[in-house]
């Protein structure tokens, strides 16, 4: 189920909220657990089984790790590795088997499809086992709260990646409140609007530009494709986190933030502190620092960075372009660490421009599962095999200008800043926020209804 669908909002969420707040406190985790399984298995019920196996194995190994953690570190370590191995093996098999099979020229399994969210929940489960081993998290004694942690539907499919130690207290004793619920509603609806009104629109325009480029490749078209992709991925992904955080709040949870205006960053280093924060945190905490981080000399630091970034790229998908994408950012991070950061600090405008250009090309690489798309787009941007522009591209650019401006402004803290300032200064305006929220929700509903609006062209033949 996706958040931006009618069935999620008007059937699933409505029911879940009603049941959740009607049942006694002690049953609330169970409600979330059951509903999350339904949410997860909606499209492919058999994936539930896989997830349950992961949960039960980590839960059971938890007891063993806890038992030997202090008395027999070697044994504890052994069980930690077993626990991680079980979890990782599912991820590796479903996500990477076919890719490696193709590298070694073996026959893959074409029917193998990636279970939704497996990359996210595997990382969450791993964080539990590792933190438990390190003594940073308490043992999960009851299976329902632990199962709820892994399956919690707001963040199950696309993050934020919540570490067990950050949320274990909330699992057993959290306070739902009017203030939190209301903030959750606002955040959720805002995310929904970002996704439906901006993200999807950018995706559609990028799609159109790519289709037309087959007939008439233009430099402007290639450049705009990259721009629309840049906005599309931000509004798609960050809106998902907004909705997840908002939904979490409705049920009394506080999830960590996942985005912090990444396109306002002034270096690649800065960008990755603002983009998909929970993933970067995960890799830093469970890979980079255990490898020695930057404490073992320059060469080791660069090696560690390389490992982290190739893994980050590979985590996004089993394809060469994701590896290249990871390597691409690795390159800039190393250059920045070596000398560039010092120069970037001198000019805000230039450093920002530099970041945007790097990110823009980065997304072209990211979207280019078919690598010819990458080479074609980049070549065309530089007028190779392309005209400067044609009438359709110019027409589309002019008619997308309001959208582009909205998208650009929406990437900055300005809208939130001025909206909140207005609310503080004028209490009448503040009282109107419920109205704005419902209006935006109605507009989003309109976009969701129209999504499947497919009139039958009745008489064309």
């Amino acid at each position: 189920m996706v958040f931006s669908s009618l069935i999620f909002i008007f059937a699933f969420l409505t029911t879940t909220l009603a049941v959740y707040f009607l049942v006694p406190l002690r049953l609330r985790n169970l409600v979330l657990f059951v509903m999350s399984l339904l949410f997860y298995g909606w499209k492919e019920p058999k994936n539930i089984l896989l997830m349950l196996v992961s949960i039960v194995s980590a839960y059971a190994f938890g007891f063993l790790i806890e038992k030997y953690r202090e008395s027999n570190v070697r044994k504890a370590k052994c069980f930690l590795f077993l626990s991680l191995a079980v979890n990782l093996s599912f991820l590796l098999f479903f996500k990477y088997f076919n890719f490696f099979a193709s590298i070694f020229g073996a026959k893959g399994i074409p029917e193998l499809t990636l279970p939704v969210g497996i990359s996210f929940y595997t990382f969450q489960i791993m964080s539990y086992s590792i933190d438990l081993y390190r003594g940073q998290a308490a043992l999960a004694r009851r299976v329902i709260p632990f199962g709820t942690y892994v399956t919690l539907f707001p963040q199950l499919i696309a993050g934020p990646i919540v570490r067990y130690k950050d949320i274990c207290d909330q699992l057993t004793s959290r306070k739902e409140s009017v203030e939190k619920f209301a903030r959750g509603v606002r955040r959720f609806v805002c995310g929904l609007g970002k996704k439906l009104l901006l993200g999807d629109a950018c995706a559609a325009l990028a799609e159109r530009l790519i289709t037309n480029s087959e007939f008439s490749p233009t430099a402007l078209g290639a450049f705009l494709t990259a721009v629309f992709y840049t906005f599309h991925i931000y509004y798609d992904f960050s809106s998902y986190s907004d909705m997840a955080i908002g939904l979490g709040r409705m049920f009394g949870f506080e999830f960590p933030e996942n985005f912090n205006y990444p396109y306002t960053a002034k270096s690649v280093t800065d960008f990755w502190r603002r983009w998909h924060i929970t993933l970067s945190t995960w890799f830093r905490e469970y890979v980079y620092i255990p490898l020695g981080g930057n404490r073992k000399g320059k060469f080791r630091t660069y090696c560690n960075l390389a490992i982290v970034w190739l893994l980050t790229g590979f985590w996004h998908g089993a394809n060469w372009n994701y590896l290249l994408w990871g390597a691409y950012f690795l390159l800039f991070l190393i250059i920045e660490k070596a000398f560039l950061l010092r120069f970037l600090e001198k000019s805000k405008v230039l450093s920002h421009l530099y970041l945007l250009v790097v990110v823009l090309f980065g997304w072209v690489l990211f979207f280019g599962e078919d690598l010819t798309f990458v080479t074609d787009t980049v070549q065309r941007m530089f007028f190779f095999g392309a005209t400067a522009y044609d009438s359709v591209v110019v027409y589309d650019l002019l008619h997308a200008l309001p959208l582009l401006i909205l998208c650009a402004v929406g990437c900055t803290p300005l809208p939130a800043k001025y909206f909140n300032r207005l609310r503080e200064r004028c209490s009448a305006f503040d009282l109107l926020t419920p109205v704005f929220t419902v209006l935006l929700l109605a507009l989003c509903t309109a976009y969701m209804v129209d999504n499947t609006f497919s009139p039958f062209l009745y008489y064309i033949f």
Binding site: F10, T14, T211, F215, D430, L443, N451, S454, P455, F456
Partner: protein, 381 residues
């Protein structure tokens, strides 16, 4: 104050969710959408197989959006907001006060390669189709007339700031490639000039030509076949169907805009009309004029084989290979000929049909949108 705001936020959110959830459950299901003119998804059947295969999920998603309360209103709200964002279009339909037009089509290259929603067409593919067609008609012994009705976006070019990147290239290609034997009659210049004079030659909300547009084509056909054209406006009786919202309006659902009017002429003759073996009441099906797809009033809609027989023994036969554009043209031609009209897509065997019906002439009517979005034209044999 903040507490009140928060309570109001929660209340309005929950009420919004609950009201539509309840309305969805309570309101009766609609099996058919008048505005979109298609059957709607109703409550899907639940079985272990549909659950496991995920079809239940797909159907339920569809069911929700198809049966959503105030569906048409929401769809209009969306298109209004798209216009508010100055996009000038919705769902690929260009908007102006006086005209709607689809801008992008699924350009056909081969069965495996279709560029969906392209502003362009595959010129080499279209050219190859036209060449095959040219070769075919070159071998025929009967006279052939070919009509390729232009698309709305080409005729109503002046109504939109949208600048078609290929200009009139498609129509230039037709004149260039089709041999004389094909009897290709250019329509675009006349229709466009008429449109720019303010004449009602194409519908505002539908992709077809109007009866007047069809009449323009009829005049050309008449002169090509050497028959004396009639002027229905003076001598024939006339019926008008108002409140026609056509395919283009259905696809875009703009919240405002005038409906179209369909004009039906009757020359008073008693024609025997059959469609796929069934006898119809006449050239027009007035029950359909009250339905949502009013254009099907012409000859009762799409059929594989339609025949029109008039009174008198000396009437000759005109064999028509057609798409729906011909339906509004045939009433004029029926005045002069008995008609055998075959759907071009399902009846590609032109040579066999000539052998069977011994026509005086063959008329091929296939609109430009069809020409660029499928391969049927080139598959005639």
């Amino acid at each position: 104050m903040k507490k009140i705001r928060d309570l109001l936020t929660i209340l309005s959110f929950c009420v919004f969710l609950a009201v539509f959830a309840v309305l969805f459950l309570v309101l009766p299901e609609k099996p058919f959408s008048e505005t979109e003119n298609r059957p709607l998804q109703t409550a899907p059947a639940v079985s272990p197989e549909t659950i496991l295969s995920g079809t239940l999920a797909d159907q339920t998603n569809l069911w929700f959006s198809d049966q959503f309360p105030l569906r048409d209103g929401f769809v209009r709200l969306k298109s209004a907001f798209e216009l508010l964002l100055c996009k000038g279009e919705n769902n690929g339909v260009l908007y102006s006060d006086s005209q709607l037009a689809v801008r992008a089509f699924d350009a056909y290259d081969s069965r495996l390669h279709i560029a969906e929603n392209a502003d362009w067409y595959f010129a080499p593919t279209v050219k190859a189709q036209l060449e095959r067609y040219g070769d075919l008609v070159g071998q025929l012994s009967v006279p052939v007339v070919t009509l390729i009705p232009p698309r709305t976006v080409d005729v109503a070019d002046s109504a939109f700031p949208y600048d078609r990147p290929y200009g009139d290239g498609l129509y230039d290609l037709l004149s260039e490639v089709l041999p004389e034997k094909a009897g290709y009659l250019e329509l675009l210049p006349d229709l466009r000039a008429a449109y720019e004079r303010g004449e009602y030659v194409i519908y505002r909300t539908d992709h077809h030509w109007t009866t007047l547009g069809a009449y323009t084509a009829y005049q050309k056909v008449a002169s090509a076949l050497g028959i004396e054209e009639v002027s229905p406006e003076e001598t024939w009786s006339k019926t008008e169907i108002s409140d026609f919202f056509g395919t283009t309006a259905a696809r875009a659902s703009f919240p405002w805009g005038k409906p179209d009017v369909i004009t039906l002429y009757d020359d008073g003759e008693n024609y025997t009309v059959t469609a796929d073996g069934e006898t119809l009441d006449g050239l027009y099906d007035f029950r359909r004029a009250r339905s949502s797809d009013k254009y099907t009033a012409f000859l009762g809609g799409t059929h594989g084989v339609t025949t029109v027989k008039g009174n008198g023994d000396d009437r000759k036969t005109l064999l028509v290979f057609k798409d729906s554009f011909a339906d509004s043209l045939i009433p004029f031609l029926a005045h002069h000929f008995d008609i055998v009209a075959l759907d071009l897509k399902t009846h590609p065997d032109l040579t066999a049909a000539i052998g069977e019906y011994h026509p005086e002439a063959v008329l091929v009517v296939y609109n430009a949108e069809n020409l660029i979005t499928n391969a049927a034209f080139g598959n005639l044999r």
